[in-house]
Symmetry: C2
Subunit: 331 residues, 2 copies
């Protein structure tokens, strides 16, 4: 098993999640760009050397987790898969391409077996949204979704955290990552704007949600905002359903949905409490009086865990389990 | 002229705005509760004594700005108005009561003359929303409004700022104002929840918007969230209009609307740039593909200025100007 991009925030979280979940592996290879300063990272009590990513080092792998940017993924993912490994790619490179399943195991886990050795891991904001939308779709049908995000700086990787914590300490930031200070600010831009005025993150949320839910015509719009919070993304979602509902039914559906943790009533999900956990936390359930069959929800998850590393590892776990079952049946 | 509650955040901002705008007054009386530690505050280059609020000290006033909580307003506003002063009350005490105009001068300035000596100043989040909604209603008609807020801690007064800045410095907060840490967090609760699950702030936004726009049946829903930002509130608004539009028309309508500053295209409004200014900044204009005649907007304003002090002073200015004109005509 390899982690490509092991020294980044998602790479490190992958290392941690693999260790926590006792992921079955004989050897872990940590690969990173030559820029990485670290020489090794701890895994299962031992320091594991970090090697430079190259065409040689991606050979003879069973599973490769890519936590790299889209350009690196476009170059190395096909090579790695071509050599026989199953690749789970966290970048946006293949997410929307036909033939590449885009998977959240609780939502469309069956897609894990439709791959040609490459499975795409969705965008962090999308994952926590679809984990909540899927059970609503299943029980009531989705008619329209409007989402506004409150996204933490760790979503931009270590560069985002570095700028934020330097600004908190009042330090001068020589090469800021964001175009404006993030501490004390809210920035309604995540990625470049397209000709319709939507940011890359907003386009990802809309397009990936449709693909994962298998609803290419789902009416959905998004506003993505970076807030001065280090970890966890929040979302204010307004959802119009197809079928009548009462709130108690919706609560029950969400409480029983895989991956969802309902925190509703006098309490509600917050970043501080979602940090380090794998659930998608949902609360603030209210009927929206402005439309028929409308509901408001507040969704919080750790963007580095369920929003990235945990989801990728879960995909690999399902694949291993089913592969073993299939091999047993055909022995 | 008096400021009642002069030592609070809104009270101090009132003092500053009256000075900046050269508000016509012979004498300024500063009143506060006995808890206030300060003895005086600077106004027009001189220290002005702070006196304890009492039934004696609210007599013989022309105009009284109340920046007190609803309980104090309920007790002292009727007494002050009964003695002959025009009261502009920033609390929620009278906002929704019949016979009490709730005024944003750019939106329903004509209501200033329908009062019985008490005019209510709306909630901060409501003011910046209606300044943008009013021109849209005038030109295209409003069909439905969905708003999610990103509200700064100064909206909770000095207590909010104190907790925030203590947490930023890593200090232990002995008597925190918020139920959870606010630094590094987002709290989807502003005020107590009602039986439908809406917070007080959300109810204010919905009810006050309807009253100010004169649209008691307007379909509107709100989600109010406290974010770790010291000054300025942001809002992600999704608006469905009655009439067809093209984005260029909407941009022009907003660019020409009183009180609105359009910051659209490659830039967008942010708290850091709205701080200390009186405009309501709007940008991120995008057609919402999920519904007919839908539009997304991002609205930012300084909650202490246009959201509170500036709006109150503007109400007084309109009243004085019209009163003088009327007196001249009838001389």
């Amino acid at each position: 098993v390899a982690i490509v991009g092991a020294t980044g925030l998602v790479g490190r979280t992958l290392l941690q999640v693999l260790e926590e979940r006792r992921f079955p592996l004989r050897e872990l290879r940590l690969l990173a760009s030559e820029r990485s300063r670290e020489k090794s990272l701890p895994f299962r009590g031992e320091q594991t050397a970090i090697e430079e990513l190259s065409k040689e080092r991606i050979k003879n792998l069973d599973i490769a987790f890519f936590a790299t940017d889209a350009a690196i993924s476009r170059e190395f993912v096909p090579l790695t898969a071509g050599d026989g490994a199953l690749v789970i790619d966290n970048s946006s490179a293949f997410r929307l391409e036909a033939g590449f399943p885009l998977v959240v195991p609780e939502v469309n886990g069956e897609e894990i077996f439709n791959h040609q050795r490459v499975i795409a891991n969705p965008n962090c904001s999308t994952i926590q949204l679809v984990v909540v939308l899927a059970p609503l779709q299943r029980h009531f049908g989705l008619k329209r979704v409007i989402v506004s995000t409150y996204q933490s700086v760790s979503g931009s990787g270590q560069k985002g955290l570095d700028q934020f914590f330097a600004e908190v300490k009042g330090e001068h930031v020589i090469a800021p990552f964001y175009p404006y200070p993030i501490f004390g600010n809210c920035l309604p831009q995540i990625g470049a704007f397209d000709e319709d005025g939507y940011s890359e993150e907003e386009v990802k949320i809309m397009a990936e949600t449709k693909k994962i839910l298998g609803l290419p015509e789902l009416p959905i719009t998004a506003t993505a905002v970076r807030v001065p919070v280090p970890y966890c993304h929040c979302e204010s979602a307004n959802v119009q359903l197809q079928l009548d509902f009462n709130l108690q039914e919706v609560r029950q559906v969400l409480a029983e949905a895989p991956g969802v943790v309902l925190v509703d009533g006098l309490t509600y999900p917050i970043p501080q409490q979602a940090r380090g956990r794998d659930g998608v936390f949902v609360g603030r359930l209210r009927r929206d009086p402005s439309v028929e069959r409308g509901i408001n929800l507040w969704i919080v998850a750790d963007n580095l865990r369920k929003g990235a590393a945990t989801n990728a590892v879960q995909i690999a776990e399902v694949w291993i389990q089913e592969k073993e079952r299939w091999e047993k049946l055909n022995r």
